[in-house]
Amino acid sequence: MFDLEHNVKSWGDYLRSKGLSETDVVELESHLLDQIDDLVNSGLSQEEAFIISVKRLGNVNMISEEYSKINTENLWKHLLVDSTDPTAKSRNRRQILLVILLSLLAGTTAKIPYLFGADVGSIVFFKNISFYVLPFIAYFLTTKHSSTMKLRWSLLGVFAVMCMIINFYPSYEPYHTEILTTIHLPLLLWLVTGVAYMGKDWRTSKARMDFLRFTGECVIYGSLLMLGLMVLMMFTIMIFQSISIELEWFVEDHLIIYGGTAVALITVYLVGAKKSVVENFAPILAKIFSPLFLLTMLAFLSVMVITRTSPFMEREFLIGFDLLLGVVLGIVLYTISARNLYEKQTIFDYLNTALIAVAIIVDCVALSAIVFRLSEYGITPNKLAALGENILLLINLIALLVLYIRYFASKIEFKRIETWQTKYLTVYAIWFAIVVLVFPIVFHFR
């Protein structure tokens, strides 16, 4: 069955991704629909009418003409196809060259810990993992958006200073603060990289929303590429094994590292260059998984209440639940950021709200367990970090719920939800910075 609404929407998204303003896109969409209505009235099917109307509107701009050539069925084929416009073509080539160069550089940086006697897989290696990739991504993004030199060098300066502090801090048994740093540093520095993505508008809500969407799209593209890389590695090991050559050392020492950094940079390049592709299927993924996560959490809560078991006796589970809440928040945020501002309320808004509400309950259960452990076993850096994160998440979720309810009551516009959420990102950045920089000192680097 041909889904007209979906096709019109993806056409509009395409125009948006090519830089047409929101009002122009809405105007052209309504033009397209008028045209389709007339053609349908004269006896064409919706699909035929859509195709003809898109072709006819093709002359609005080279832009939509390009769209009418691309068949949504095989979008992937167009991923790396060079553009037909010569200037865009040479710019595209230069970007690809830059991506290759930066990937090689990044992979080589990942070898630096060897010089200090740290192996792949050691905590020193993982602690520095952000520095092998993120500065290069920041460099690429500032080049691509032709940002000012000042912005670029201050960002790279932040990376350099962080790198020195992190490696200057000592670490003693049982290495709790060092592990916390390893977990939180990439999160903090990803937000710093976000400034490179957003450029000088990084304080505005619109730029931050774009960055959230960009993050979600990077996760999806990155996972796909990573899967491909893993398949490649498995086959490499297997086929060489069949001729009695052990290649595991090569794969472990080189392919994983260079492949990993390349995946990261290619992901960033692809999300920017082929935005329209991921825009078509990322919202679908979010829509498939938000009801599934909702069901899982509901089932979990009801079983927990019926059997009266506390799930948080073990520390590992606490971290697992924090991750779960993070993923749920990610899905909620992605659904919000990928949403069309002018859309009316849909079933997915209600679903999103239900997801938030259930996540609040789960978060409260987790919080009570943390408080219990804190009072029972005393303060440790892990518990304090978990406590802080859960409180931040709880505030975030409750605020989203309140704003959503007010939006349903037509008291506020949807934009308010976005504005609040993007402002709250700063709070996360501050908390991550505290965990990375202050925690080790407070807990004497233990």
Binding site: T23, V26, E27, S30, H31, Q35, D37, N59
Partner: protein
């Protein structure tokens, strides 16, 4: 009959202003009106219309507002402003002048031919 590109470009502004003088309208309807009034002889493309509309709006000859269509669609309507009305009168005078000169020259030359035939 295909109008030449130059003529289409030159006539777009007065025609749009004239349509908007009758009543407020939106892009799709304007194209349709032109097509019907000219008995399918003049068919504008969207690629020509929207840039002209947006330019006229920027120059303050027309203004736009959003309104819901009967189907509940957001539609961008355009309305003629006082400055646009003056512009339309100016254009009309110029077109009348061109038409007057063209037709009287043609009449005179056909008369001459008739005279010389006799």
């Amino acid at each position: 009959m295909d109008l030449s590109k130059d003529l289409v470009a030159a006539s777009a502004t007065p025609l749009i202003l004239a349509i908007l003088r009758q009543h407020d309208s939106y892009g799709y309807e304007i194209i349709k009106t032109i097509k019907e009034t000219s008995s399918n002889e003049i068919v504008w493309t969207e690629g020509m219309l929207y840039p002209v509309l947006h330019r006229l709006e920027k120059n303050g000859l027309i203004e736009s507002y959003w309104k819901l269509s009967p189907e509940g669609r957001r539609r961008k309507y355009y309305r003629l402003k006082a400055k646009g009305l003056l512009e339309l009168e100016e254009h009309t005078k110029q077109w009348e002048l061109v038409y007057f000169v063209l037709s009287s020259t043609l009449n005179a030359s056909s008369k001459e031919r008739v005279d010389s035939d006799v």
